[in-house]
Symmetry: C2
Subunit: 609 residues, 2 copies
């Protein structure tokens, strides 16, 4: 059971052989991170995940609402008891602020390395890891936009895990329509603000893991314009701080009014929070008034990539468990032996349909791992690059691919974990076995941090047309290089199909982009999700081409164990191109002419009275 | 909330306008079932579903394992309290034996009509309905293969719901490999058998709804050959019967040893059952020794079509709730108004991406409703036909399409209910709202009654090649008629694409069939699920062509309400052909050349150690 998380060799393949993380260490910024150090850190992350987070995962799921699970007692939240030990070790290991500066207690890792650790933490216990991950997200806002005083007060305590952080956006009437938020902020004579309003769906809004909880709250000042341009961001602590920035025992009129029973993520509490119901809630403005959305959005890219990593981690754990089960579960003989006398019964991994299911899962997981890591590679590369053109290009690609990665990886996570259940047969439906929890937990990732529908609108409405389409062109150029690489590696089937898919996706983009800028704009948005999926399909094909080309170049000269791994990479790529790419080509075809049916369907035609 | 089940008008469209159920009433067998009677019965079924079953659905789900949910106390099962009232009405309404002969308390309905009722019961409360549905399945075995004495003893009590029935196949080592079962049957001098063995995953193995439970148990006699040809079928009551066939209070050594906590279907108990642990379990043989699998298999087609109807009913409920929510939930302005001053905010059903999601759900549900009803229409038609060639042809099509319908409808049920969550946004993940339960409940239907992998093997290994491929040819001929009908109805886009998909599917069938009969048979089985999916895709396209052709012929002359409905049918069909058929064409392409990667992937390549 110990290693039933993301495939270690594939993580290393990406970090060390595809993305060459050691090359970052040539620059001053990441000089400490040679391959050896990176491997050691990855190993430590896996150890923590396997030894501490996995064991606490199931208990918190099963005991939802029960004595050992999340409890809501006297207005306060008790997280699962099994989380306390791991949380202490998580914090003392410095895992909250992996990539941040040393002055705030950070480890200064490349994002690429941190992503691999993030994937392991999410795969082992997403409910647990969401507590520190949100704390980091909230801290990142302070680091980026807070005053020096605010940084001093909040940052070290948050990045060390002594205090927690949240994200307080959603209100009952304001979900995807974040501009509709109604929480008010009234300026006080001392420069602080009084906050009044009710938030819902607040993850980790309270916990007994920490001394204090800092809520970044989106709210409107009295003179604010309507919509998103009138939103400001405030830091609202659960307990007031004294003049030295220490937590006092004076409550700040932040009340947990309820917790949700959810499909999954049972160990991570989701709260309704009332701010200022007794007119005693005080917060500090971050940056300037009315710029709250801009501040939130800067961290949103990180959160969206985080959602993709969450789905990737959970999908990987589902797959690892499925492979393990398929190797152990004996059921029936091989088909070709079925009519023999007393045929030998075999582990189900030898049955063709189970192999196909596993290959489908693996090809999607490996493709999505490439995509999510690639975005982190771009981030690091842009971070250290001294070439402004390259920096710009990398940032463009990140902007373009972030909604794709978020929506595609989380959406495929549903399919992959459903397959995980399939491989387990009847046992997949039983809560005693792990697959059911993966299937339930993964479902949130396509909803939060902007639903997948919002991602599709972002891709079509903002990213496709930005800078006259340059981000997509930059991406196409990168993929074109992989076409050539595959051809040079003797992978003709792959290079030809990737080239075909690439040009079809280019045509789809032109077709939907043109429709979006004309009078039929609504038709275009009616196909936005299909377009996003077809860009995601292209990225998967690209990933397998890149991986297969690298594997093909190394397989001859490698030892037995590596050879098997590279064979696996090549077979997975061939499978993807044989079985799944034809579907992707078809999906892309559907965008040649943007359907008008989505908007012309009469509303009363959806359902009869 | 009252009507949030399968679309009533679409059910009526299929029954009365597409499949013309009244034509059955020309024959003596179904002479009572004119349109008026059928409508009245459908209305009664919906009333029962809406008023009694829906309210009991949530309570049983939430209180799983709690005082009001399923309880396992002193070796006996207490079903949810809320089930008792509805069960009484369900039984007294005669809904258990809708299609059976009057002598056994049946209603003699056409299967087609019963399917529509079945869909409503499954959509409103699948956990509840599984109790009587299983009872009927067990009773059907007795009716078909039992002795006259067995029929007298068991049948009326089961079909009236006084006693329950189960299906006892699975053992820990024998899931899909049913030939591996190990339960023993020892013949006693009086002709009865002593049963000894342990079964798992037994749905409804005990309940306080009934006076007695009759278990059809698969077991081996002492001299039985190994594998499936050595399996016999026994009737094993929970309480012994006296010489008059009445239930006594003497227990029959059938012990419930545990119940499962499951992903969904919380109101339907899943038990481990021990037979004869004190050597006191007695059963009666049904029919002849060693023919148990044959008996079980005859009812298996019904059970498989039942699983499809379950997924259809749940998917329909998920969709109806999604449409309802989308009409009520206000969120943000239309995209084209987004930059106006104070834009009007609209219900999300006006947002393009939500409309696309709903149309995707609807097109799959409506297509699957056509497919499942079509199989029932074939059954009724074969039942009343006096033309042996037609009878044969209809039976062939039923054989061929049953695994397709079972696997495709249940598989798509996962996608559809995942979409139901999507439309609800964050509320979809919260158990207080209905979508989460649909998503959890529907997952079982692709596992039980033969996993979807088993269905794919059945389609490729048994059905495709049977009678020299005649079943598929018969189906192709039927679909060809729809191509012509669509063309004659002026639906050129549809007729052309359906024709293309039909010929591609024919080619795929030839390709995979040829591979399956050669030395690369394992490769063929590695693509069996893809083949099944592509046949299912074809059936969906066929369904929309048939429905659109009929709607097109009626739209001009119809009143306002019907016109809107027919417009909806036409738009849904066009959407399906614009957006989804291109993908299906691609999937079919992937079968032109059967991939060899599934079998050549090295086992160690699936996951690194």
């Amino acid at each position: 059971m110990a290693q039933l998380l993301s495939d270690q060799r594939d993580q290393e393949f990406l970090l060390f052989e595809i993305f060459n993380i050691e090359s970052f260490s040539d620059t001053g910024k990441f000089c400490d991170f040679n391959n050896k150090t990176c491997k050691m850190i990855l190993k430590e992350a896996r150890k923590l995940a396997v030894e501490e987070l996995v064991p606490a995962n199931k208990e918190a799921d099963v005991n939802n609402g029960h004595p050992e699970g999340v409890n809501f007692i006297n207005g306060e939240i008790k997280v699962p008891k099994s989380y306390h030990g791991p949380y202490e070790n998580f914090c003392s290991g410095g895992w909250i602020s992996m990539c941040d500066e040393e002055e705030w207690g950070g480890q200064k890792m490349p994002q690429l390395l941190a992503a691999a650790c993030f994937e392991l933490f999410m795969g082992s216990n997403p409910s647990f890891f969401n507590y520190p991950a949100l704390t980091h997200g909230a801290g990142a806002i302070v680091k980026e936009f807070g005053s020096n005083l605010q940084k001093e007060k909040y940052l070290k305590n948050m990045f060390s895990g002594k205090w927690a952080g949240t994200m307080c956006l959603t209100e009952a009437q304001a979900g995807s329509d974040v501009g509709a938020i109604d929480t008010k902020a009234f300026k006080n004579p001392d420069g602080t603000y009084s906050i009044e309003g009710n938030k819902i769906f607040i993850s980790g809004a309270d916990s007994d893991l920490v001394e204090n909880v800092i809520h970044p709250v989106l709210a409107r000042t009295e003179s604010a314009p309507s919509g998103t341009s009138g939103i400001s961001l405030f830091l609202v602590p659960k307990y007031r701080l004294d003049e030295n920035g220490k937590t006092t025992n004076i409550k700040n009129d932040v009340e947990i009014t309820g917790i949700e029973e959810k499909l999954g993520m049972h160990g991570n509490v989701t709260c309704s929070v009332s701010f200022g119901s007794r007119n005693k809630c005080t917060g500090e403005l971050v940056g300037e008034e009315n710029k709250g959305m801009k501040y939130m959005f800067l961290m949103m890219n990180e959160a969206r990539q985080g959602a993709a990593l969450q789905a990737l981690g959970i999908s990987s754990a589902s797959y690892a468990n499925a492979v393990n089960y398929a190797k152990e579960r004996i059921q029936g003989p091989q088909i070709i032996d079925a009519f023999k006398e007393n045929p030998v019964k075999v582990p189900i991994i030898q049955h063709p349909d189970v192999r196909r299911e596993l290959l489908t899962m693996k090809s999607l997981i490996d493709g999505n791992r490439f995509l999510t890591y690639y975005l982190k590679w771009c981030t690091d590369k842009a971070n250290i690059s001294k070439d402004n053109t390259q920096k710009e290009k990398l940032k463009n690609i990140i902007e373009f691919l972030t909604p794709v990665s978020k929506a595609y990886t989380t959406f495929k996570g549903i399919d992959i974990t459903a397959s995980g259940i399939k491989v387990f047969g009847g046992y997949g439906f039983i809560e005693e076995y792990p697959q059911s929890q993966f299937y339930r937990d993964v479902r949130i990732s396509s909803i939060y941090e902007g639903t997948n529908g919002i991602q599709a609108m972002d891709l079509l409405g903002r990213k496709l047309g930005m800078k006259k389409g340059k981000p997509l062109l930059d991406l196409i150029n990168e993929i074109q290089k992989s076409v050539e690489k595959a051809e040079n590696s003797g992978l003709k089937n792959i290079s030809e199909k990737l080239s075909k898919l690439l040009s079809k996706t280019g045509e789809s983009a032109a077709s939907i982009g043109k429709t979006a800028s004309g009078e039929n704009i609504l038709d275009a948005f009616g196909s936005a999700s299909v377009f996003l999926e077809s860009v995601g399909d292209l990225c998967m094909a690209w990933a397998h081409a890149e991986k297969a080309s690298t594997a093909a170049g190394k397989i001859e000269s490698s030892g037995k164990k590596d050879k098997t791994f590279y064979q696996g990479v090549l077979k997975t790529a061939e499978f993807y191109y044989d079985v799944i790419v034809p579907e992707s080509l078809g999906r892309s075809d559907s965008l040649k002419k943007i359907t008008k049916t989505v908007m012309s369907m009469p509303e009363a035609g959806f359902a009869s009275k």
